[in-house]
């Protein structure tokens, strides 16, 4: 028995994970592709009806909500990830030197990352509440106009971006900090000997050496930001109207509010394609950045 297992350890060890992946990922994907070609309202009496590519032509042609949701998804992801990377980098540089209360600071920074997104969203709902929230009191205290925040269709998406940046900047900061502390020392010593100034050391040594870590953080965050669901659903459910609707919440609404499983599946297929294309582009960029360094 032990001998049999030892010879096949490689395959036996990986087997359960493969099975789970096939059952949970590959099979549902195939099923989604099939569903996207049908029209079905979830009724048990009348099963899915095959309609070819109609769902896709509807989404890409007649359906205004889809294009708008796709645009919002890209806008949300682009803006939040850009802010998170820049802010995260600054925070990582600040936290790099040791100081008093370092451990406590790092723990506090970690809190938004591990805290429950839904609980965070609820807390922000209180903060943003026009009547009872502290956000308006703060704005008025510094002499700005009171806002409707999440109830304002033209601004709600931007206020949600603030929440996302608040929650995820710390994670980027911690990843970049881990990268900073594991940089090799020799280039810095050499630069010091050559008399390089601090900005020069940052520009020519720290920054290039950090590019791979920054790309890793970028890919990680891009993928997760595209998937943002909890914050949006818990606070606005995509509203007011469809002002904060992204592909994620649109797909959800089509499936579980309107029980349009066929159309929802088509939304999901297009969503997956967008995620894959973006991931592919960034990982290609990662490879090129790696080559330039070598």
């Amino acid at each position: 028995m032990a001998e049999w297992l030892d010879k096949r350890i490689k395959h036996v060890f990986i087997f359960p994970a493969i099975i789970v992946t096939v059952l949970l990922l590959v099979f549902p994907l195939i099923y989604t592709v099939y569903m996207s070609l049908t029209s079905w309202s979830g009724s048990a009496i009348q099963g899915p009806r095959f309609i070819g590519l109609d769902n896709f032509t509807q989404l890409l042609g007649a359906d205004d909500r889809f294009g708008a949701a796709a645009g919002r998804t890209l806008l949300f992801t682009g803006v939040t990830v850009a802010f998170e990377l820049v802010l995260g980098y600054v925070i990582a540089l600040l936290l790099r030197k040791s100081f008093r209360g370092e451990r406590l600071t790092r723990t506090l920074i970690l809190l938004p990352v591990v805290a429950t997104p839904v609980a965070i969203s609820m807390a922000w709902m209180v903060i943003y509440d026009p009547n009872i929230g502290v956000a308006n009191q703060f704005l008025q205290a510094i002499g700005l106009q009171a806002q409707q925040f999440l109830a304002d269709p033209s601004a709600a998406l931007w206020w949600l971006m603030v929440v996302d940046v608040w929650q995820w900047t710390p994670m980027i900061a911690l990843i970049l900090l881990a990268g900073l502390t594991s940089l090799p020392e020799e280039p810095f010593e050499a630069a010091l000997v050559d008399g390089a100034s601090a900005p020069q050391r940052f520009r020519f040594i720290t920054f290039p050496l950090m590019i791979p870590v920054m790309f890793a953080a970028l890919v990680l965050r891009l993928v997760d930001s595209l998937k943002t669901f909890d914050i949006i659903y818990a606070t606005t459910k995509g509203g007011p109207g469809t002002a904060t609707e992204t592909l994620n919440t649109y797909g959800f609404m089509q499936a579980f509010e309107y029980t349009n499983f066929g159309l929802a599946s088509a939304v999901i297929i297009l969503f997956i394609l967008i995620v894959l294309v973006i991931t592919l582009i960034t990982s290609k960029g990662n490879e090129r950045a790696g080559r330039v360094l070598q």
Binding site: A17, I18, T116, I132, A234
Partner: protein, 243 residues
């Protein structure tokens, strides 16, 4: 959040009482005796522990195989699971689980959470196993252990800190999971994030109760983070720093 959780309803709606108010624990008492929060906490706990244990059972050997036999392609495929939006799996699962009559069961919740926790365990553990020297394993095998024996008796004990990190993060992410829990848990097995929505009525929101519940559900995560701060950071950035 904490401020609102210890205010009375009247004080919450009075902007002058932002910081100056008489604290009350009424909201906390209310949700413990007069809501389904304790019941939901039980559901959350069962699901999070279940998903974590199964993820470790399946993920540890898989991560070991990937690390030792450099099965990079397999590793990539397993991690692809993590990249796709959750809603990708949700619609087909929902349809299938409805047909099987399993929506609203612990089974459907635990299995759906595996999509998040298992790749994470594998992701974190690959880098840990790569750092275990093969010499230790070989010395164990000279002493008559089988390869599997060496994995269980030597590799796993050495990797305890990594396993603890993976288990902790797996628990936290399952605890925080909302989308799958909401749809697949239905009304029978509401986990904590889903139960928070019970405080939002059609006309009004019970802010005090809502914030008290939110504080209670964030508390365990906060305590874990206090104790395991370094490990959590290591876990979150595992893979990222390795590129």
């Amino acid at each position: 959040m904490i401020l609102t959780s210890v205010k009375s309803t009247v004080d919450i709606y009075n902007p002058d009482k932002l910081f100056s108010f008489t604290p009350t624990l009424k909201n906390y008492a209310g949700i413990l005796t007069d809501s389904n929060i304790p019941e939901s906490a039980k559901h959350s706990l069962i699901v999070a522990i279940g998903a974590t244990v199964i993820s470790l059972l399946i993920g540890l050997p898989a991560a070991y195989a990937i690390a030792r036999f450099s099965m990079n392609l397999t590793g990539m495929v397993l991690l692809l699971v993590r990249m796709l939006p959750g809603i990708t799996y949700l619609v087909p699962w929902y349809i299938i689980l409805t047909k099987l009559g399993l929506v609203g069961s612990y089974f459907s919740l635990i299995v759906s959470h595996l999509v998040i926790t298992m790749p994470m365990v594998i992701w974190i553990m690959i880098s840990f196993f790569q750092n275990v020297s093969t010499e230790l394993e070989e010395s164990g095998r000279v002493d008559g252990l089988s390869r599997t024996g060496a994995f269980i008796r030597i590799v796993l004990p050495i990797s305890k800190p990594g396993i603890a990190t993976a288990a902790l993060l797996s628990f936290i992410f399952s605890w925080n999971q909302f989308l799958f829990s909401m749809v697949l848990g239905a009304s029978q097995k509401k986990t904590l994030p889903v139960a928070l929505f019970d405080f939002i009525g059609y006309a009004s929101i019970d802010w005090g109760g809502l914030m008290a519940a939110a504080v209670l559900m964030t508390l365990p995560v906060f305590i874990f983070s206090l104790f395991a701060q370094k490990h959590i950071v290591a876990g979150l950035s595992a893979g990222a720093t390795k590129g």
